[in-house]
Symmetry: C2
Subunit: 208 residues, 2 copies
DNA sequence: TTTTACATACATCCGTGCATGTATGTAAAT
DNA sequence: ATTTACATACATGCACGGATGTATGTAAAA
């Protein structure tokens, strides 16, 4: 086939990523062949192998594509509540939940990660990178919790590590369950109240 | 091969289930062939196809094997706190979390469901049954919440559906994250405090 | 002219499902 | 008590499709 211009090549790559997002999030990663993605993208496997080393590098590119915008969003929330650590926690949590509803790409990637992929040995380097970025996020949150405790926004005997883990799990679980059936409840609308419930729980039950 | 006695056949079936639990929870469902399970169980694929129709019926049997004991545990917790709906909720939640740590089979099945399988079309009937039993459990919990509200154990303006969903998500997320790395925190030990945080949050933030 | 951006073709491997073989358990007939 | 007639509990082998990776072709961009 004829060579394309660099701009066209970027577009081809983007089409492959879009198609992969769709097909993976519908049929599952292991259950989807690269040929199916190629067909969905209107190309052949040759194009995919040109842009990506294999299926896992393709997924890695998918994750990378949503990571940066999300990080920016969270950083912006941090800046908006510079001297209000508890407010930062609240704002970031609500933002993530609502973004999962509104951002198609993020939702597809979350669907893949939660429901359409297996954590197998082949995908280990990919998962390691993903878990590392989660750990970064958790560490920042833990810093917010520590600051909130120091500022008297939370009881002094709150365990910041456990509070972080609980919030992370809560958010994970909410997204997990919402993606199972997006019609069972209105996540974007309920997000503020749901987050508030947990944060209030920290205030009144910290030391048990 | 020679025919075995009924007792021996039951044992073979059990060995296959044990092997499947191990291999699936390590290598992932889609990524594991029935031959690998056969080898791990010390039999051949013929034995597996004799006892189970295919891979998904095998998984269904895995789920069934842990479902009944778990249901019994939860029912027992319900009976122990017959006139204390909030206590029922608390006890059931803590029980599930601690059971995931102590019960090898339950932990393996949760690992498979959360991290080692894809919700694909082929597995749809299986997932439907699993989700149906989750729904049953959720409905019972919601009944407990309604009773707790009626008994004045929770604010009158609490939304029992949302409270149930939040608790379910919280528990799912905790198990999900704990299974990602069982060493990152001591789930069995932290379970009471973690659950209490959420329940306290319901008390103080119900109406926002 | 060289490199790029793919399409096409090919070789290899692997998993599934089924068909078949087979030796023993088991219950009833004798 | 033996024998008979199956049913059972697997093991084995084969045919088939499908997925991957790579090698090669090719026409236009640079």
């Amino acid at each position: 086939m004829a060579r394309k211009t660099k701009e066209e090549a970027r577009e081809t790559r983007s089409q492959v990523l879009d198609a992969a997002e769709q097909v993976f999030s519908q049929k599952g990663v292991t259950n989807t062949s690269l040929n199916e993605i190629a067909i969905a993208a209107g190309v052949t496997r040759g194009a995919i192998y040109w842009h990506f080393k294999n299926k896992y590098e393709l997924i890695a590119a998918l994750l990378e594509r949503v990571k940066l915008p999300l990080d920016d969003m969270l950083a912006a929330q941090g800046a908006d509540h510079a001297d209000d650590p508890l407010g930062q926690i609240r704002a970031k949590s609500i933002t993530v939940l609502q973004r999962c509803v509104s951002d198609t790409h993020l939702r597809a990637v979350c669907t893949i990660l939660f429901h359409k992929c297996e954590r197998i040995a082949d995908a280990q380097p990919l998962m390691d990178r993903h878990l590392a970025s989660r750990a970064d996020c958790a560490q920042e949150l833990e810093g917010n919790f520590s600051a909130a405790i120091a500022a008297g926004q939370l009881p002094a005997d709150t365990d910041p590590k456990l509070a972080t883990l609980g919030l992370f799990s809560y958010i994970d679980g909410l997204i997990y369950n919402w993606l199972l059936d997006p019609d069972q409840f209105h996540l974007a609308e309920a997000a503020p109240r749901l987050v508030e419930t947990y944060l209030c729980g920290l205030s009144c039950a910290a030391g048990r």
